[in-house]
């Protein structure tokens, strides 16, 4: 009697507890992954893997790797709903978002449109939390969208004219978060939180006010706060800073495998901190189960040596950048002689044709790279051979002829061409000075350019200083990596091809004009560049995929034909250390921040450990 009574009480207590936080598990309508076209196998749950990172800030890579986004790119780079059940897009003007029924945050609280409302009304439009208002992707011609909450699982955002940035921003590697765990963050919000408690927290956390508190505890991209619920595959359980950060699987994750098992398979991902210089050495002794960050191509042979003892394989994934290294002639440089020279397309073409890319590829990249202009990569749906092959042929005669035609036909005693003002054609190339590779490549180009009467000097400096000099127009030529969006699709922002920012070293002043909305900088004077700006604004009002694709095409064609940036070799290789026990990691992939989110595109939630 007493025993059954006690049992009854404990059962009902358990029931009450469960009602408070609903059953853990995937949503009623999970996202079922189809493994057939992914070349993956159904795995076993459980296990823990280690990765090496260098700074506490690196926890953000977990958000990138994990890859859960409201909408995400599939394997053919098409945008598909992921966290969302569906998204209805009416001409890029109005977007109706449908949430999955029964979807919960990692702490078991329901994920509903209230989380979207909270962000939109109480965060994005709150003066203290978002100075300057909502992110620019939410604005069209400076106007806010109309936000309608239809029910607890449906919400609609609509603008008067098209907003092509909205979807891609949601899918970004660093996504635009238009939702926040309202149930958790309200306690830190002036409007909802208890004033005394807030004041106490401001005091004990040594911050200025409640908004700093809200920002500190509410970071989603960088999951520093272990109490902050998440929708990603793994959730941080460690208070930072720590030398060992443990991510545990999210029991309410929304993806399941074809057999109906909830993902992720791995119970735990542990990030161990080490100084970046010894990470390759540690990975080489098998101390990491999955490592690409802080490992470079020049570590490849060392890593290969340790595969037996370390129990790992080394994969090589080509990088997703448009070019491993580009030369950026500054069309806005303060040096008048070179400004005029570089604004002449013949000079830019001649410089491009005057370098022997084949030799650079053999000497620096072991012949594994692709000699190409700075453009999109062959895996991109926008790729055309003519872009990659624009003005890259090694032809000293034609280069010389182009330079002669451009009016640089006088030479000094050493055979170096002269500028109209009498100075020799000596280009100082400034580098960020971080990799010896850059200097090695420039050394080779120095030799090649001797044949076309151009002298090159290398000036390594430091990343931040270089950036400052670029923005001020003090550089004549600098080097940087090629297009970040080497895997662009028409839906992605083509901003890298148009002058939009003072950071762009080929046209900082024109970029500044756009970025500052005309307050500083200058309007582009070259018709082709002005056309690029125009095309960019056209893209922003393009209503559909085909229009966007046409605009991208024209931009790429101008960009590569005009050789604003001189690409050298693309497809540099990223070594990836993978434990022999870790399965479902594809042999071939592309290593890029966007759109592949580094590992994110290859679904780390499906990686599993074989005993």
């Amino acid at each position: 009697m007493t025993r059954s009574f006690r049992k009854m009480i404990s059962t009902s207590a358990a029931l009450i507890l469960m009602a408070g936080s609903a059953f853990a598990g995937p949503p009623e309508e999970p996202r079922v992954l189809n493994f057939d076209n992914l070349d993956k196998e159904v795995g076993k749950s459980g296990g823990s893997i280690k990765m090496l990172m260098s700074k506490p800030k690196d926890v953000r890579w977990m958000t990138v790797y994990s890859g859960a986004r409201l909408v995400a790119y599939d394997e053919t780079f098409q945008l598909k709903p992921d966290i969302l059940k569906a998204i209805d897009n009416a001409d890029n003007k109005s977007f109706t978002l449908h949430l999955r029924k029964g979807h919960q945050w990692s702490d078991g609280q329901p994920f509903t449109t209230e989380d979207f409302r909270y962000w939109w009304e109480d965060v994005a439009q709150n003066e203290a939390l978002s100075k300057g208002g909502p992110p620019r992707e939410m604005l069209v011609e400076g106007k806010l969208p109309k936000v309608e909450i239809i029910d607890s699982h449906t919400i609609r955002y609509s603008w008067d004219s098209v907003n092509p940035l909205f979807m891609t921003a949601l899918a970004g590697a660093r996504p635009m978060y238009i939702y926040m765990p309202a149930h958790y963050l309200k306690q830190f919000h002036e409007k909802y939180g208890d004033a005394d408690k807030l004041a106490g927290l401001v005091e004990s956390e040594k911050v200025q006010n409640w908004s700093s508190l809200h920002k500190r505890f509410g970071r989603q991209y960088r999951p520093e706060n272990p109490e902050m619920p998440t929708l990603q595959a793994w959730m941080n359980t460690t208070r930072l800073p720590s030398e060992r950060i443990v991510f545990k699987r999210n029991p309410n994750y929304h993806r399941v495998d074809p057999a109906g098992t909830q993902l992720p398979y791995l119970d735990e991902v542990v990030l161990n901190m080490a100084s970046s210089s010894i990470i390759a050495a540690k990975a080489g002794t098998g101390e990491s189960d999955l490592q690409a960050r802080y490992v470079r191509f020049d570590n490849y042979s060392f890593l290969k040596q340790g595969t037996e003892e370390g129990g790992y394989n080394v994969l090589l994934w080509p990088s997703g950048r448009g070019s491993e290294m580009t030369l950026l002639p500054n069309l806005n440089t303060k040096d008048e002689g070179f400004r005029k020279a570089f604004q002449d397309v013949r000079v830019r073409r001649a410089l491009s044709m005057g370098m022997d890319r084949g030799e650079i590829n053999e000497a620096i990249f072991f012949g594994l790279g692709r000699e190409a202009a700075n453009s999109v990569l062959p895996s991109s749906p926008l790729y055309k051979d003519e872009y990659a092959e624009a003005w890259i042929e090694y032809d000293v005669d034609q280069a010389n002829q182009l330079l002669d035609e451009a009016g640089f036909d006088k030479r000094d005693g050493d055979g170096v061409r002269l500028l109209p003002d009498g100075r020799p054609f000596e280009i100082i190339v400034e580098t960020a000075g971080e990799q010896s590779q850059e200097t090695d490549i420039l050394q080779l180009i120095t030799d090649h350019w001797k044949d076309i009467g151009v002298k090159l000097f290398v000036k390594p400096s430091q990343r931040d200083i270089l950036r400052g000099r670029v923005s001020n127009g003090e550089t004549v030529m600098s080097t940087w990596q090629g297009l970040n969006r080497g895997l662009a699709t028409p839906e992605m922002n083509p901003e890298e091809l148009a002058p939009v920012s003072p950071i762009q070293a080929q046209w900082p002043t024109w970029g500044n004009h756009y970025a500052s909305k005309g307050a500083s900088g200058e309007q582009p004077t070259l018709p082709e560049v002005a056309r690029l700006s125009e095309l960019y604004s056209n893209w922003r009002s393009a209503a559909n995929y085909d229009e966007q694709a046409a605009i991208w095409d024209e931009m790429l064609s101008i960009f590569t034909d005009q050789v604003y940036t001189i690409g050298i070799v693309s497809g540099g290789l990223q070594p990836i250390v993978v434990s022999k026990k870790l399965r479902n990691v594809p042999e071939e992939g592309i290593w890029a921040f966007e759109p592949t989110l580094y590992f994110g595109q290859y679904l780390p939630d499906t990686f599993w450990l074989e005993e």
């Binding site: 506490p56 800030k57 100075k131 542990v270 161990n272 901190m273 010894i278 050495a281 002794t285 970025a515």
Partner: protein, 332 residues
């Protein structure tokens, strides 16, 4: 003596104030600021940067204020025990440094003790057996340790330790013990990992210590009272330890001044190579990224310790050696 101590403490205040100005100025000297570093990092990893946001960050961190204002804010807070806020770690400086303090002190103590344990016997032996084979041989090894670049030695020893003893590369313990409560296994792991840094950092200090002990002891051994003692038949060991050795220790006490900051800062470069979770790498990273309050407060902390250390050793010397007290006190 008490007046002497008071004036010395009084002199500390302007010294520290001057130090704080120098520290703050030097940290701000390189072009750019933390926000620049942060933006540079974002660009390098392919993230897009909103320059308007950079301006907000600057305002939030107070970087838009003039330097003198920032300095005054920092130094007044510092005096009141608030060491400021680290941009990089997004935490109060005291917390960031505090987390690493214990391990740093442990490594430093182990190193100092190792240095003493090796240097003392060798120094004494070298002094008593001057110009013998033993003297030359041991000095040679000591100088070898001094001459070998520490970071190189660190790399080689780390590799050997991994290769032959299976000690994981870098760090102060195996990864699974981090943030775990202390246990026998954890202690074992720490001790295993402590060997390489202790030897590497210790080797450089040992040679200098040997030479100093040898020189000071030699000076003392030639004095007449030692010769007299020997002549009177005092046993050799007692004739060495009772007075000459004690007298030669003055330099040792004077060393405390520089020892105190070393204990807290650890060996920076070696710690980076060995990936130790000590304060050294923290300081260097903070200087590189211009995380100014972290770097500034930490350097200020070291400056304070140096000043206190010098004071302590001066007072100790005063007690130890009446000659110093009399002449020093009279002059001041």
């Amino acid at each position: 003596m008490i007046r002497y101590i008071i004036t010395r403490i009084g002199a500390m205040i302007p010294t520290l104030l001057l130090a704080s100005i120098v520290i703050f100025t030097i940290i701000q000297l390189p072009p750019g600021d933390y926000v620049e570093t942060y933006i540079g990092e974002l660009i390098a990893s392919g993230e897009s940067v909103d320059l308007e946001r950079a301006q907000y960050l600057r305002e939030e961190y107070g970087l838009d204020k003039p330097m003198i204002q920032r300095y005054l804010l920092w130094i007044t807070n510092f005096v009141m025990g608030d060491f400021g806020y680290s941009f990089e770690y997004q935490r109060p400086v005291s917390e960031v440094v505090g987390n690493r303090l214990w391990l740093t002190i442990m490594v430093s103590f182990a190193t100092i003790i190792l240095t003493w344990v090796i240097a003392f016997p060798i120094g004494i032996y070298s002094a008593t057996h001057q110009y013998s084979w033993g003297d030359y041989g041991l000095t040679f090894f000591g100088l070898l340790g001094l001459a070998t670049p520490n970071f190189l030695l660190a790399l080689i020893m780390m590799y050997l330790a991994q290769r032959f003893f299976g000690v994981s590369i870098g760090g102060l313990m195996d990864a699974e013990y981090i943030d775990q409560p202390m246990s026998w296994d954890k202690l074992k792991s720490i001790l295993e990992h402590l060997i390489v840094p202790t030897i590497v950092i210790g080797t450089s200090g040992t040679a200098a210590m040997i030479r100093r002990i040898r020189a000071n002891l030699l000076d003392e051994l030639q004095k007449q009272y030692v010769i007299t003692a020997r002549a009177k038949g005092v046993p050799p060991f007692k004739a060495l330890v009772k007075y000459p050795l004690r007298m030669s220790l003055n330099f040792f006490v004077a060393d405390i001044g520089s020892l105190l900051p070393t204990i807290i800062s650890g060996a920076e470069i070696v710690a980076i190579v060995l990936s130790l979770q000590t304060t050294g790498p923290l300081l260097i990273a903070a200087l590189q990224s211009q995380d100014m309050y972290l770097a500034g407060s930490f350097l200020m902390f070291l400056a304070t310790l140096t000043v206190i250390g010098v004071l302590v050793s001066d007072i100790a010397l005063g007690f130890l050696d009446p000659r110093i007290r009399l002449s020093g006190g009279a002059e001041k």
